[in-house]
């Protein structure tokens, strides 16, 4: 096991008082907290800082650590506990302190747990760990509330070891889920030790990008390419929706960017039913022949419209 120099981690002297330790922790925590920094490796760095603070902020734990440190200074290479050493908290260890190092779990986990009952890092004492995973959902599944099978790994503590056990579940996707929404599967997280409750599994819905539709709230947006003559003369088209095609009249003189609304063909949520918005995009043929060019020229002669008239 590797010895952890908590003073060095927090950048404080061994004689530092609690105020200095707290100040140093706070400064580093703000710099490396995963919610305030997106730089790679910050999560590991933050865990290290939190572990050091967890030990040094508690007078008894700090005194025990100082004893270990003195002993460690005289032992070469790896670190083992002094013969007969045990934490003053004693008792059986129920579960590893998942976020902290082996060093912490070996010497301070029990004491940390007993003091955590008030608040900090406490949930794993009372129930198994909550798990969180992303669940990709197709738009078609979001509108019809279909079922999905999921496989995930649950950390199980047994024989002083944490093992990852594979678990499979079938989940009914609630009707009208939106991107980023969380759903909770009660008791499907990590098992609680002894008679404690299992943790929960949180699934974060991730709507899979659709080849045709974009999502805007509960509305769907479809890019609708039209030829110039379809836009000018109007036409009848079959428009794809998430549940089949619908016939639609494209009015004459439709313009690029114009939105045509198809009621009730969007997504659903608790507040209502969205629409499908077809956004017109005028598309010209990729290649022309001489006859087409002649017709374009004829049109250019007949139509004096200048879309850039307001530039001058």
């Amino acid at each position: 096991m590797k010895f952890k120099d908590y003073y060095k981690i927090l950048g404080v002297d061994e004689t530092a008082d609690l105020k200095e330790i707290k100040k140093a922790y706070r400064k580093l925590a703000l710099k490396f907290h995963p919610d305030t920094s997106s730089a790679p490796g910050t999560e590991e760095k933050f865990k290290e800082i939190a572990e050091a603070y967890e030990v040094l902020k508690d007078e008894t734990r700090r005194a025990e650590y100082d004893d270990l440190k003195r002993y460690g200074a005289n032992s070469g290479g790896g670190f083992d506990a002094p013969p007969g050493w045990h934490s003053s908290a004693g008792g059986n260890r129920h579960q590893e302190h998942g976020d902290f190092s082996d060093f912490f779990n070996s010497f301070f986990a029990d004491r940390a747990r007993s003091s955590e009952r008030t608040q900090e890092y406490g949930p794993d004492l009372f129930k198994g760990q909550d798990l969180e995973m992303e669940l990709p959902v197709f738009l078609e599944e979001a509108i019809d509330g279909s079922s999905k099978s999921i496989d995930y790994h649950v950390p199980v503590y047994a024989n002083n070891q944490i093992k990852q056990v594979k678990k499979s579940l079938k989940v009914k996707i609630p009707l009208g889920v939106s991107d980023g929404e969380r759903i909770r599967l009660k008791g499907q997280g990590a098992p609680g030790s002894e008679d404690r409750l299992n943790g929960d599994l949180y699934l974060i819905i991730r709507l899979v990008p659709h080849p045709l539709f974009d999502v805007q709230g509960i509305n769907l947006i479809l890019s609708l390419p039209l030829t110039p003559w379809e836009a000018a003369l109007g036409t009848k088209l079959e428009i794809p929706t998430l549940n089949g095609k619908v016939k639609m009249n494209i009015p004459a003189n439709s313009r690029s960017g114009q939105k045509l609304r198809i009621k009730g063909k969007g997504l659903k949520n608790k507040t209502g039913q969205g629409d499908l918005l077809a956004v017109i995009k005028i598309d010209i043929p990729p290649s022309t022949n001489s006859e087409t060019t002649r017709l374009w020229n004829e049109l250019a002669e007949a139509e004096k419209y200048n879309p850039r008239a307001d530039w001058s």
């Binding site: 925590a29 919610d35 406490g122 909770r184 929960d200």
Partner: protein, 100 residues
């Protein structure tokens, strides 16, 4: 078929996450989270998004040693950031369809 829940009541939230009721009241008073329904404290029910922000606020309070005013500001910014990232992704996808 696993049971899916979209809400959590205050009792369960306090028990599961080891959060004191007083802290949840504080989080609600600072506008960090809003109960989905419930007239009295005992009846408060939160949707999972609000429950997520409560847990996040408690974690920030413990780990960064920030007061509730600072946490309220941080969480507002985090919510705004999340919304902007989502909007940005949607707009980028729409733009790609228009220029492709």
């Amino acid at each position: 078929m696993a049971d899916v829940t979209l809400y959590i009541d205050i009792e369960e939230l306090c028990e599961n996450e080891s959060i004191d009721e007083e802290i949840i009241i504080e989080v609600v008073e600072y506008g960090i989270a809003v109960p989905h329904r419930g007239e009295t404290l005992a009846e408060w029910i939160f949707d999972l998004e609000n429950a997520y922000w409560i847990k996040k606020a408690v974690k920030l309070n413990q780990q960064l040693l920030l007061d509730w005013v600072a946490i309220s500001m941080v969480i507002d910014l985090m919510k705004d950031k999340e919304k902007l990232v989502q909007e940005n992704d949607q707009l980028r996808s729409r733009l790609n369809r228009l220029i492709e």
